[in-house]
């Protein structure tokens, strides 16, 4: 394999990492509060707003049920508005971020709903405000689950980022389509797939290890 091709693969890997990192960071920063809201705003919960809760839930579901490839095309006007272009790595970050937000939000909601209601009652009995309960109890207790949620989000993002290659998004998916498929280079396709597998493995095992470190629920001595 020529050095030129190796350079291309390195560049594509870097592009993928950049898209995943930026979309993952912005998407989870926005998804986290939405997830917290979804988990705490039902009837009789900490910040009761059942109607608004249903509305946000509806929007989240709508975004999640739109196939990613259609989402990419559908929000091109927004992408142009934000980045000035609809092609390339930078442009791909917009749909990736939009897809991350509801995905992560639902995982955050599940992680928080999973916390024993007794802990919320205990905190209320101590005189905690709802905000204190969120920060001192819910987020603290959900930390292992949130770490796993973030891991899962990044892993799906790596998959999505390969998909934006199909619409000129840049990165490993783009390389696989243009060289591996259109130019009949199975060796390039193979390398792209291997790099993706390695990336996913690295992210997953790092996430698992971190979550285990945060998890104090099992006896360790």
């Amino acid at each position: 394999m020529s050095p030129d091709l190796l350079l291309l693969i390195a560049k594509a890997t870097f592009d993928t990492l950049r898209m995943v990192a930026i979309a993952g960071l912005i998407g989870s920063l926005i998804g986290l509060p939405i997830g917290i809201f979804l988990a705490t705003s039902g009837k009789g919960e900490l910040f009761p707003a059942p109607n608004f809760n249903r509305l946000v839930g509806l929007i989240v579901n709508a975004t999640r049920s739109t196939p990613f490839i259609i989402l990419v095309v559908a929000i091109i006007p927004l992408t142009r508005l934000v980045t000035g272009t609809s092609i390339g790595t930078k442009a791909a970050i917009v749909p990736l971020t939009i897809a991350t937000i509801p995905f992560f939000a639902r995982l955050v909601e599940a992680a928080i709903r999973d916390i024993d209601k007794g802990l919320i009652e205990a905190a209320r009995a101590m005189g905690a405000t709802p905000t204190q309960i969120v920060f001192k109890v819910l987020l603290a207790e959900a930390r292992p689950a949130l770490t796993l949620a973030l891991t899962m989000t990044v892993v799906s993002l790596i998959g999505y980022s390969a998909m934006v290659g199909a619409v000129g998004g840049g990165g490993l998916g783009d390389l696989g389509i243009r060289y591996g498929y259109q130019r009949f280079r199975p060796d390039v396709m193979l390398i792209v797939v291997i790099v993706l597998i390695v990336l996913v493995q690295l992210v997953q095992s790092a996430g698992d290890r971190l979550a285990r470190r945060f998890d104090k629920r099992s006896r360790k001595n």
Partner: protein
């Protein structure tokens, strides 16, 4: 024998339930129901008061009214004279910081160390780090877990977890401690040690303890006063000793029947008849308290009855700090023997109850 019971006056009470009812509206599959029906109860300041009832009797709701986790549908709950129902959210939070609570399943944060768990209510109250440190250390000493301060709850036994729960509940120096089935998840031995701790706290800190439980053992071991709750109503109320030795309500008797020593052996219970026929033996329960519990009554009984006396069941115990004994004996049911036995009982001031006759 029983001292007449008078409810502590509102001035002497740490908690006053004044005609409190709580109804839950129908939701989903469960229909509307009344959890508490017109409850009047005063919890004496400095007492350990027990509320006992079966599950679903309304005791959980009752205790949650005290710190405003539930709101009464009608009536008033006063804590140190303050009407809980009239408080706004900020007022409620202030009240809750002066009322400690411990739970059946401990409700400790798994992500925090022992120290961190006890510190939590103080952080919530906005206390600074050094003051928290100074407050938490002695509390861990008090509950005997100072050496475990850096451990996580998952590394501790149930009894140790409840000790942390107690230290946490005491962190804000409350005057009232609510105990919600705090020993129900613990084995009997651990239960005793937790109850001892509650007793000590009550005595040393002058803290009022209101505890709910479905176990008569718990009521017997620590409380001075007890209320029996059934289907949302208080059906019996009194000094623990009197309620145990002279239960009036059916529910109380049913709850008491689970205690060891109060049940007849099955073989005897099966053969029990309500009336005597010739040659039968009378089965009699003798109850003795205070000074009589310490006299050699059995040997005297055999001497004065002058016939065979069988001991069928018996228990010697302490209720609310007073010695108490119960002995079930059988002797010939003929008029002469019975007459001698009854004379002996009267002379010695024993409380007796004829349970029946066996062949």
């Amino acid at each position: 024998m029983t001292t007449p019971y008078s409810e502590p006056s509102a001035d002497e009470a740490a908690v006053v339930f004044d005609a409190v009812s709580k109804r839950f509206a129908a939701s989903g599959e469960s229909g509307a129901f009344t959890a508490l029906d017109n409850v009047d109860l005063n919890v004496g300041r400095g007492s350990i008061t027990g509320i006992i009832g079966r599950s679903g009797a309304g005791k959980s709701t009752l205790i949650r009214l005290v710190n405003g986790l539930e709101k009464p549908s009608s009536g008033k709950v006063l804590v140190d004279g303050v009407d809980v129902g009239a408080l706004d959210e900020a007022g409620l939070r202030n009240l809750r910081r002066s009322v400690g609570m411990i739970f059946q399943h401990f409700n400790l944060l798994s992500s925090r160390t022992v120290f961190g768990n006890v510190a939590l209510p103080l952080e919530i109250a906005g206390m600074d780090r050094r003051a928290i440190e100074a407050r938490v250390r002695p509390l861990l000493d008090l509950v005997g877990l100072a050496d475990k301060h850096a451990r996580y709850p998952a590394e501790l036994s149930g009894g140790q977890k409840q000790r942390i729960g107690i230290a946490r509940a005491l962190a804000t120096e409350p005057k009232l401690l609510l105990s919600d089935e705090a020993t129900s998840a613990l084995d009997p031995e651990t239960t005793q040690s937790i109850l001892e701790l509650l007793k000590r706290i009550n005595a040393e800190l002058g803290l009022t303890v209101l505890l709910i439980t479905h176990e008569m053992e718990v009521v017997k071991a620590v409380t001075s006063d007890v209320a029996v709750i059934d289907k949302g109503e208080i059906v019996e109320r009194g000094h623990t000793f009197d309620v145990f030795t002279h239960p009036k309500h059916e529910t109380t008797r049913a709850l008491l029947s689970g205690l060891p020593g109060s049940k007849l052996p099955d073989a005897v219970a099966r053969g029990l008849k309500p009336a005597a026929s010739a040659g039968d033996r009378a089965v009699v329960r003798l109850t003795f308290f205070g000074a009589t519990a310490e006299r050699p009554l059995v040997s005297q009984l055999i001497k004065s009855v002058g016939a065979e006396v069988n001991i069928i069941a018996g228990t010697i115990d302490e209720i609310g700090g007073k010695p108490y004994g119960s002995l079930v004996v059988a002797y010939a049911a003929d008029a002469e023997t019975s007459g001698r036995a009854e004379r002996f009982f009267t002379e010695n001031g024993l409380v007796t109850e004829v349970l029946g006759y066996v062949a």
